[in-house]
Symmetry: C2
Subunit: 278 residues, 2 copies
């Protein structure tokens, strides 16, 4: 992957016999990551790019990653004309790629899924935390729904579930299990969605609803939530309600989270399963 | 979402009193989807864009989606100069967005996760299907691993697991359960990964390995797989091996897949849980 930087190919400009090249670093997979920090003339950029690719080819490099912030939009067209194509984009930048060898490229694919959470929070009285939203598909329908939200960049699923409940209803919770997940397609253009239903245990009871997004929030008997005509009519919501009720009666097993972090690895990840170490 | 098209704002050009505008359709959320099909002069584009946004503002429209294929790269810079920013990109196009009202935009976020699968295929003799890869992090290490792969655009998780096993080892399988999933961050740049461990039941036994990606493939006792030093050393792999062995002994519950498709909805999605309808 292109983020494991091993060394730098930076060559100071205008210094003796050195050839002017673009500032870049190398990753551990034969890739080159170009750092264009300042705006430059399009023709200067094309000359530097051609010289750089010639050198990288000599060095046996393969993929070239070119990250252009939106301020450098004038360099997008020259890059494409030199054979680069789009890899992914975020509001503030566009990532372009180029493959030096004559072979088929092996660059990693772009992200394909948005990830969301729905929180199932039941108190000791068997009441469920439900909300009505001010915008979106449920606006003005009177439907009481689970608090939901989108997992933010770099955020763990269970952390997102806890955060959304705190933001929307002011309730503190702890994560118990993922009860279910749903994969759906063409959610926006050609992208897919994954939505994780998380069971959380409430640690407080007084609701303080968020004014900007939430019309109303309350504790409601789980059965009353499940019996809403809208929920019963939509197979996906009906299943989720049934799964949540089955869990309330301990008739359903969810996935808890195991940290896979080790003393020697800074890379944190969580594994979700029903497995319990003996 | 911007894909629920309700009507078209196309106005024929050069026809009586009509104002020239960009070809566009409207979605059900106040959004406008611009269709630029042919290359055009940058100045003509800017004029049409300004006129169109003026009209859409009068009509109370909110978000503007501008999809520019890579051939139309010359229009990227003018669009950004008119206030558009990047939403997402794929190899063949760049999607730019603009928000007409003075309020904070409510456009849906970009995809944040790549989704992968690892397949746990055990035959009646308690042997596991394992492979050695020709490229990637495991190349030349001698480590036997589960067949893995990336979920393709619009593909269901369980379908991807079955496909990868067929492609890499030529074995036909049927999906049983998702045994576990792992979420990890910064897998490439700021994006995250979700990897689903799928248990599959083999329907054939003769291995035909894929020559391009797979160095070797075989059936191996599950315990032998789990006892490889590499697997034992890495917490994440070690947990997955333990979960798979627990499942083999029926000591662990996975999530099976329920279709949520209905007669009235064309939209297909799958819900994964341990819930069994009574």
């Amino acid at each position: 992957m292109a983020t494991d930087i091993e060394s730098s190919s930076k060559i100071p400009e205008n210094e003796g016999d050195h050839v002017d090249m673009l500032d870049a670093s190398f990753d551990g997979y034969g890739g080159v990551i170009v750092n264009v920090k300042e705006d430059m003339d399009e023709n200067v950029f094309i000359t530097l790019l051609r010289t750089s690719i010639f050198q990288w080819r000599q060095q046996g490099k393969t993929g070239v990653w070119l990250k252009l912030t939106i301020e450098l939009v004038n360099l997008v067209k020259p890059a494409v004309q030199e054979g680069f194509w789009y890899h992914h984009a975020e509001p503030t930048y566009l990532m372009l790629v180029y493959w030096i060898p004559e072979t088929k490229h092996t660059l990693p694919p772009n992200a394909s899924h948005r990830v969301g959470v729905a929180s199932f929070v039941v108190n000791d009285k068997g009441e469920l935390l439900v909300v009505q939203e001010k915008s979106g598909a449920f606006k003005g329908t009177g439907v009481w729904k689970l608090p939901t939200g989108t997992v933010e960049e770099g955020e763990d699923i269970f952390v997102a579930a806890i955060r959304e409940v705190k933001e929307e209803a002011g309730i503190d919770t702890e994560f118990v299990e993922v009860l279910a997940f749903r994969q759906s397609h063409k959610s926006f253009f050609s992208k897919s969605d994954l939505m994780f239903v998380c069971m959380l245990k409430p640690k407080s009871s007084v609701i303080e609803k968020q004014d900007s997004e939430i019309e109303a929030a309350q504790w409601m008997p789980v059965e009353e939530y499940a019996n809403q005509p809208f929920i019963k009519k939509h197979k996906s919501f009906d299943y989720i309600a049934k799964i949540c009720m089955a869990k309330k009666d301990n008739k359903c097993v969810g996935f808890s989270a195991l940290s896979t972090a080790t003393a020697t690895s800074a890379k944190k990840s969580y594994l979700y399963s029903s497995y319990q170490e003996e």
